[in-house]
Symmetry: none
Subunit: 215 residues, 2 copies
DNA sequence: TTGTATATAGGTACATATACCTATAAAATT
DNA sequence: AATTTTATAGGTATATGTACCTATATACAA
């Protein structure tokens, strides 16, 4: 039986060793080891037909796993990607999904789970650690809330809110948008009502919370 | 030659495997494996004379490596501790030093460095990864900057800034602090000057940026 | 000990924001 | 076709914040 070729990408030597020893006596064959995304990307470009699955850490120097995954997915559709992470943070899960990885497991996964993930991915499926699921769920709920929270404002209101949070006064905003100061103030009043904020300060915190501006 | 007994503590199975394979054909003998600090602490209390060196990860569930190290160092002076970390953050290094660990290396350390660290520690010495030094320096600079940013405000100013960011008006703050509104306004003016902000909005963003309040 | 920073408080003037109104035209929705 | 939302703009009054001042007592540092 022919073995499945795997490229291992991780900047932690111990991790590479650990995974390598895990895959002994399995149908998976490690054909390459890389210490960061850039190295891995060069390797793949030189050996695109020699690898079926790329197992990559998320946080690495120079080029991280997310970027690597995005590059792979836009150029080599036949290569599947399994992401590895130390922590199950909502942000990480989100990034992995956006990078369109085929699987995401934590580094404390058991050998059984690991092999299982590879098996599913190799067969065109996806695999996400059980531990990630509740986090993912929370993330989805949070995203929904975020959209709802932002959804209560119109495009114009968001535009004005951004300028408010950028420390422009109503007068300045009016000038920049070629509208009356009075109109800007009306938008302010409406936003205060909609967001149940007491003052501009609350609006600014709302803007930061929802990613309209950064602090 | 008698082997040196080692207790391995890490919540990542792959990491345990990796270290175990690294220590094959070495004078070190792994006599126990634990998944977190609490487990390890119980193990040590039951086998205090069977272990010479504890190799422990820093971040673990229930009880982390720092706490474990502190407990070991206050009760069992003869046990040496080598801390492992995924990242070389200044905060981590600082904590490791405070916990009085005998060594601190990163998880991407080579086998040679690993064995070297154990050797030095076993002989009553200490070992810290070279890789930690430059990062530590940067981190310290960064920490200093942060402290400077917050340090430009007095305690009272920070107190008032927090209340401002919590959407209280000067009048309300004055009432709560039993001072004049005029005093509060003076603090505002001073803070605006110190932080080079245009208005309260800038102050609030400053407060959020520096962790005085959350958005 | 002589300055410097801090916390306090007042005056005056001006700038900015907010709370109520009304009103109109275009766009979207029902 | 009728209704609602959105973006626009005005009036008036008040609330809140900001820019300049001065001033005092205390604590801390050069």
């Amino acid at each position: 039986m022919e073995k499945i070729n795997i490229l291992l990408v991780d900047d932690h030597r111990i991790m590479l060793d650990g995974i390598e020893s895990m895959l002994q006596n399995s149908p998976y064959n490690i054909v390459g080891l890389c210490g960061n995304g850039e190295e891995a990307w060069a390797w793949i470009n030189a050996n695109e037909d020699k690898v079926s699955i790329v197992i990559t850490d998320i946080s690495m120097p120079i080029m991280n796993g997310i970027e690597l995954c995005k590059k792979i997915k836009t150029t080599y559709h036949h290569i599947n990607v399994l992401m590895l992470s130390m922590y199950n943070s909502a942000a990480a899960v989100d990034e992995v999904l956006q990078a369109e990885a085929d699987g995401f497991i934590l580094k404390n996964a058991s050998k059984v789970e690991f092999i299982n993930a590879l098996h599913k991915i190799q067969n065109g499926g996806t695999f996400f650690s059980q531990e990630i699921i509740p986090f993912l769920y929370k993330q989805i709920i949070a995203e929904r809330k975020k959209e709802i929270e932002l959804g209560i404002l119109t495009q114009r209101e968001k535009e004005i809110l951004e300028m408010i949070a950028l420390e422009f006064t109503s007068d300045e905003i009016a000038s920049k948008l070629f509208i009356s100061k009075k109109t800007v103030d009306n938008h302010r009043t409406n936003m205060l009502q909609k967001t149940h904020c007491k003052s501009t300060i609350g609006l600014v915190k709302f803007a930061i919370r929802n990613g309209i501006v950064s602090s």
